[in-house]
């Protein structure tokens, strides 16, 4: 097909529907379907898999960090409670409910006197 005719066919393709022969001629001469460089699919898959692996690694790392943080906080809390109990035991000589709560034996009398004043 002459070049001038191809040009006209191209312009026609914008507004009119081409028959299959015309379409084939246009594709062959003007728009041959060459893909990307060889190995395109592999390159895309590599990027996708690398991203996915990173994402999974990131999620696992986050979970692990959160777990270890939780364990550390709970151990520190338990240790603080034990130290507190031991210090109370040593200073007060016993571990009554009032001692644990930090309430003095005279507190009832104090409250009554405060209320009546």
């Amino acid at each position: 097909m002459k070049e001038e005719k191809m040009k006209d066919l191209f312009l026609k393709s914008l507004t009119d529907d081409l028959n299959p022969d015309q379409r084939d001629a246009l594709d062959a001469k003007l728009f041959p379907s060459d893909g990307f460089n060889p190995g395109f699919r592999e390159r895309v898959m590599k990027v996708i898999l690398a991203g996915r692996v990173l994402q999974e690694k990131g999620r696992k790392y986050f979970d692990k960090s959160l777990n270890s943080l939780f364990v550390r906080v709970s151990l520190a809390g338990a240790a603080a409670i034990i130290v507190l109990v031991l210090s109370l035991l040593l200073s007060q000589g016993s571990l009554s409910y009032d001692t644990l709560m930090g309430i003095d034996n005279n507190v009832d009398g104090m409250l009554v006197s405060l209320a009546t004043d």
């Binding site: 191809m6 990307f36 996708i48």
Partner: protein, 188 residues
């Protein structure tokens, strides 16, 4: 272990398998649509490394958004839409870059600069002329020309892919045709 015949699987099946993490299924989707995407992005951006990068980005975006693909339209339509949008984004990005780093009269960007220049008189053939003419169109006109003329979609399908009214597509095609006529005459 079940052997899956990826080559003979339908698109919706490949999508389901890909969402479940079957990367071979997604590889098959790339194989099926690589040429289609190449035609669109190369038509929009020229036969450049940039076009290949955008092609990669199209499939990466597709992969990320596969869970949201409900199958209301064909997978090919969905991919075309991503390809056109990514190409338009790339053109906008480059325009912004040029407007920052060059004088205003230089920033009148045409994708033409990314097209291979004609090295000699004998290299000029109708394919180069037509691609050069398409590259001189405004990006919004270029996208309708690529879908309609290069990919061979109907005007209705073109409107669906670009998510715009049919009337707009028809009007853009008509104006693009007029402009292409003038550009082709100028290039002769």
């Amino acid at each position: 272990m079940v052997n899956i015949d990826y080559i003979n699987s339908d698109d919706p099946d490949l999508v389901i398998l890909s969402v479940k993490g079957d990367h071979k299924a997604f590889g098959e989707i790339i194989r099926r649509y690589e040429y289609m995407v190449a035609r669109t992005v190369k038509g929009m951006l020229g036969d450049t490394q940039q076009a290949e990068d955008v092609g990669q980005e199209v499939f990466i975006r597709l992969y990320r958004n596969l869970e949201n693909f409900r199958g209301d339209s064909k997978l090919s339509t969905y991919i075309q839409r991503i390809a056109v949008n990514q190409s338009l984004n790339e053109i906008r990005k480059e325009k912004r870059f040029l407007s920052i780093f060059s004088r205003s009269d230089d920033s009148d960007d045409d994708r033409e600069m990314n097209m291979q220049p004609f090295d000699s008189e004998k290299e000029k053939d109708i394919k180069d002329y037509v691609n050069m003419a398409i590259s001189r169109l405004e990006p919004s006109f270029r996208s309708v020309v690529i879908l309609r003329s290069v990919q061979g979609y109907s005007t209705k399908e073109t409107a669906e892919i670009l998510d715009m009214p049919l009337g707009t597509v028809l009007s853009r095609l008509s104006r693009a045709k007029q402009q292409l006529k003038e550009i082709l005459t100028e290039l002769d």
